[in-house]
């Protein structure tokens, strides 16, 4: 394997969980719900996926469990913020704390147990193609799913009527309500979708990235996903660019260190954050466009007039 192939393969692994979680958060935020519980939902997905894959031996059941656990974790948040109209920021933070604690309790039995690894798909003929075979045609199913999901989200948001309704709910819930759109229903769906995506991201961590369960193994990736959504100005294409850029800089700085490049490691460690923020701010510097894209009702409570 050539070194560039190895590097690109690692970048894909690093970027996929960020992309998945951010993709779900983007939909929730487009519907006007700021969910800061991504980290909590992601780790619930990680522990759920690990537990089921470990007990059944099937990583695919594990993936399903991860998605389910993430979606389930988002339900109390959805109920509190949408039906009970609680503060979204505080409730989201509570969800993160709850997820980290609860996953530790559930995962207690799995500490020190080796996990089940989800194997990559090999496509006869294509996987052996020179230069691109291993990169394009020898990934695991979640990597392909992350790209397909992002494209589907883009089509849904900008090319379908339902997507238009969802964006309307996020931009002006009162107008959407007046037009007969069920604001609460749309928001419930968006939050649960966000939870499912975060759960899938968690499943990727505990089944592919590092097939093991250790408490707190998300290590802040949920927060990076939240930040990516904002800096990508709620645009799926930019999200893809942001997640892969972050992954690329992260991996390249490790390679630079291994190759003996003499740059202070503390600076190199902060480089993925700096580079991603700078690039996304630069491509999003058109203020009118940013304004047009940011959901105007993001984080605002909705109480229908009866």
């Amino acid at each position: 394997m050539e070194i560039y192939e190895a590097i690109i393969l690692t970048i894909i692994t690093a970027a996929t969980p960020l992309l998945l979680a951010a993709c779900g958060e983007l939909v929730a935020e487009r519907a006007g719900i700021l969910n800061l519980g991504v980290e909590g939902m992601m780790i619930m997905g990680a522990v759920g996926a690990f537990a089921v894959a470990f007990s059944t031996g099937s990583p695919y059941l594990g993936i399903a469990a991860g998605i389910g656990a993430g979606a389930l974790a988002s339900l109390p948040f959805a109920f509190l913020t949408i039906s009970m109209v609680t503060n979204q920021v505080a409730t989201g933070l509570a969800l993160t704390i709850l997820g980290l604690g609860l996953s530790g309790m559930i995962g207690d039995a799995y500490i020190g147990q080796p996990g089940v690894k989800l194997q990559p798909i090999n496509i006869q003929g294509l996987s052996d193609l020179p230069y691109v075979g291993r990169i394009l045609f020898s990934q695991d199913v979640i990597v392909y799913a992350s790209i397909v999901l992002l494209v589907l989200v883009w089509i849904f948001l900008f090319k379908t009527r339902a997507g238009l309704s969802l964006r309307a709910v996020g931009d002006s819930h009162s107008s959407a309500h007046a037009l007969g759109v069920s604001v609460r229903k749309v928001r419930y769906m968006a939050v649960i979708f966000g939870g499912a995506c975060a759960g899938l991201a968690g499943a990727y961590l505990s089944l592919v990235y590092t097939p093991q369960w250790t408490e707190g193994m998300t290590a802040g990736r949920g927060w990076i996903a939240v930040v990516l959504v904002v800096f990508a100005t709620w645009m799926p294409g930019r999200l893809l660019a942001g997640a892969y850029l972050f992954g690329a800089v992260l991996i390249l700085q490790l390679h630079a260190q291994a190759a003996g490049v003499n740059i202070p490691s503390q600076f190199l460690s902060s480089l993925p954050y700096l580079a991603t923020i700078i690039v996304l701010v630069l491509i999003s510097r058109n203020r009118t466009l940013v304004k047009k894209n940011s959901p105007a009702c993001l984080g605002k409570p909705f109480v229908p007039d009866v």
Binding site: I111, P114, L205, A258, G260, S265
Partner: protein, 360 residues
């Protein structure tokens, strides 16, 4: 009870302490021992091993003591609040198990002169504050020797956390061990600037392997690097606990932190009223450092590792025995001399042969 306390420790560390405090308030005559952990007890590394020590206490003393812990306490103002809360709850003895808890521990200890404090890996003491640590570098010398014997490329990869003396000392000990076998041995060091991030640790391992190392060792807390080594078909070493189950065919051995004996002796001292402020830095001899079984090795290499281990344990050999040169070529200690503990504790330079610059 434990499970509930653990859940709340995640939900709100302080709430957990309050809960534990009220639950134990009814007890009399028992020695109450509190532990503060920097990470989750489920990290299968540093905090996990300290918690094993706590469990050993419960096993050893049974009804005579009560123990409790607070996990995930960040190093900073939170630490001081948490330690003080435990002190107010009437604990007789408090173990604070991370370097960053040093100043908070001393501050609280000043206010509670009757409570005995034990701080791990620090260097500041008081009348009621002891310090303790392990000579992990002894194990690192042994694994360095093993690495040089089994590596085909003559290059190992080292995943390091933060450039503090403890970690730098480990890198140097590993390198000295390796050089005792192969003077031209090469070491690639990658700093990840975290103690615990399985994903990033795995990424670092992959980067090192892609650049041609065929041995992976780490000074971070998760089993992820070893798992990557197993997946790529190369060898590696566990860290803090025996990680053989994560890499049955890749782990050569593991440097295991064992706190049981120390914790039992210190608690016994409190119960006997003989506790004094001390500084303990034990290694293989004190059974504070142990080596997991030597596996996946040629018989002679395993046997030689056991010989090195025994000679360090018996005090016959010290890993930092001269001649040792610093990276810049200046002489650290002459032939036959041993680097003193003060230099070891403040080690902020690489020995000769380590590539790259030490970040400050």
């Amino acid at each position: 009870m434990k499970r509930i306390a653990k859940l709340l420790a995640g939900a709100a560390a302080l709430a957990a302490v309050a809960l534990a405090g009220s639950a134990f308030a009814a007890s009399h005559g028992k020695t109450k021992i509190g532990f503060i952990y920097v990470g989750p007890i489920g990290d299968h590394g540093w905090s996990y091993q300290h918690n094993q020590g706590r469990l050993a206490l419960e096993e050893a003393f049974g009804d005579k003591i009560e123990t409790n812990y607070v996990e995930n306490v960040s190093e900073g103002p939170d630490a001081e609040r948490t330690i003080e809360r435990l002190a107010r709850e009437g604990y007789d003895m408090i173990f604070t198990t991370s370097f960053g808890f040093m100043n908070p521990t001393l501050k609280v200890a000043k206010k509670f002169p009757d409570i005995k404090f034990e701080h791990a890996t620090g260097y500041k003491r008081a009348d009621n504050v002891s310090t303790y640590s392990s000579r992990f570098y002894e194990g690192r010398y042994i694994i360095g020797q093993i690495a040089a014997k089994v590596s085909e490329t003559g290059t190992a990869g080292y995943i390091a956390s933060f450039p503090i003396p403890e970690v730098v000392r480990g890198i140097n000990a590993f390198m000295l061990g390796a050089q005792s076998v192969n003077p031209d041995f090469k070491l690639k060091v990658v700093w990840v600037n975290t103690w615990f991030d399985p994903g990033k640790e795995a990424d670092a391992a992959k980067a090192l392997i892609d650049q041609g190392v065929d041995i992976i060792t780490q000074h971070t807390d998760s089993p992820a690097p070893l798992q990557v080594a197993a997946e790529r078909g190369i060898k590696g070493f566990g860290q803090a606990s025996d990680m053989i189950r994560f890499a049955p065919e890749a782990q050569l051995t593991s440097i295991v932190d064992v706190w049981d004996a120390y914790y039992i002796s210190r608690v016994q001292a409190v119960m006997d009223g003989t506790w004094e402020s001390t500084d303990t830095w034990g290694g293989l001899d004190a059974k504070m450092v142990e080596m997991a079984p030597y596996t996946n090795l040629p018989e002679n290499v395993a046997a030689e590792a056991a010989v090195t281990q025994e000679s360090i344990r018996s005090g016959e050999f010290h890993p930092f025995t001269g001649p040792i040169y610093k990276q810049d070529g200046t002489l650290l200690v002459a032939e036959g001399d041993i680097v003193d503990d003060g230099t070891l504790l403040g080690m902020n330079f690489y020995v000769k042969g380590v590539d790259g610059e030490l970040p400050n």
